[in-house]
């Protein structure tokens, strides 16, 4: 374990209440894929973490979950380790959570833990920073939790992401789940969601 530099940025104020609120929002987002959720949590995580990404990882990670940071997110690693006690994952495949700050250099989704047919929950949940998210746009989502189809607009993802997403979706019950974050807003893409581009 590498030495930790104590961050100067504060974590969640009133951690119990704030994390319960964020957890509830994360559940809502996962239950209704493609719904853009705005968090009202007051938080100033260090760059490059957005407010939504910071709130999610501080809520979800604890001392038992390995967290992987991409190169661009390394500068926020100590912040997350200090406030959650989470250990660092050496490899993407070990991670329970992954923070991807540079979404154009996202590792292949299959490089992360996909779980097994017996334990599909032993997979990585990704938190991917993007430029913007909107409840309207060219993407059409369908699947469990969506009545009919739901539109979504995302800017700042690698062009082949949606191709990879199709593969990820087909691997069900294995696969990764993704939170896309931008500023104070986030949207969830569970592995069950079909995305038409």
């Amino acid at each position: 374990m590498t030495a930790l530099t104590i961050p100067t940025a504060a974590g969640l104020a009133e951690p119990a209440l704030a994390s319960q609120r964020v957890f509830r929002q994360a559940l809502e987002a996962m239950a209704r894929p493609g719904t853009v959720v705005g968090t009202e949590i007051v938080l100033a995580p260090p760059a490059p973490l957005s407010r939504a990404a910071g709130a999610l990882i501080l809520t979800l990670a604890d001392f038992e979950t390995l967290v992987w940071f991409d190169r661009a997110a390394q500068s926020a690693a100590d912040y997350v380790r200090f406030h959650t006690g989470a250990p660092l994952a050496a490899q993407t495949a070990d991670a329970a959570f992954a923070i991807v700050a540079d979404s154009t250099n996202l590792p292949p989704l299959t490089a992360f833990a996909l779980g097994t047919d017996e334990y599909p929950d032993r997979s990585t949940s990704l938190i991917v920073e993007v430029e913007s998210i909107a409840g309207t746009g060219p993407l059409m989502l369908s699947g469990p939790g969506i009545l009919g189809r739901r539109p979504l607009g995302v800017h700042g993802l690698a062009p082949d992401f949606w191709h990879q997403w199709r593969t990820n979706h087909r691997a069900f019950p294995r696969g990764v789940d993704v939170f896309l974050t931008a500023g104070a807003r986030f949207v969830a893409l569970p592995r069950t969601t079909t995305v038409e581009t």
Partner: protein, 158 residues
Amino acid sequence: MSDRQTKRAPTALADRQAWLGTLARAPAAALAEAWAGLNPKPGYRCVRGPETGLIMVRGRAGGTGQRFNVGEATVTRCTVALDDGLTGTSYALGRDRERALYAALFDALLQDPARRTVIERDLLDPVRGALVAKESATARKAAATRVDFFTVAREGSE
């Protein structure tokens, strides 16, 4: 910041461990008084806490045996960041949040060489003195009730 932490010499680490121990044992009143006496007071922000929780205290039988859980202890911890970027951390037994906050603040201030001498003189030295006096008083009381066991040899009979 990171340079200051990674390049700290071993003696500096030992120094910090020593003052952290003193701050953890210092009475709340002494810390509050020392903080009140600071002029000017630095700006600061709480990075974590002060928050109260439980820690598992572990020990080794005779100091060398297998590790075992002694029991849980209530501790309050706090981490602060001063406006100049120094961070300070404290852990103290009990639930006194204010005391943990002051201890963390003084930990941060003591890392600033320009302030250390004054704090050593006004806060740490008196507290250390009081702690030593208290310990020796306890030791004296304990010593007064000490029983020396010896065996009376049976007188030889012919």
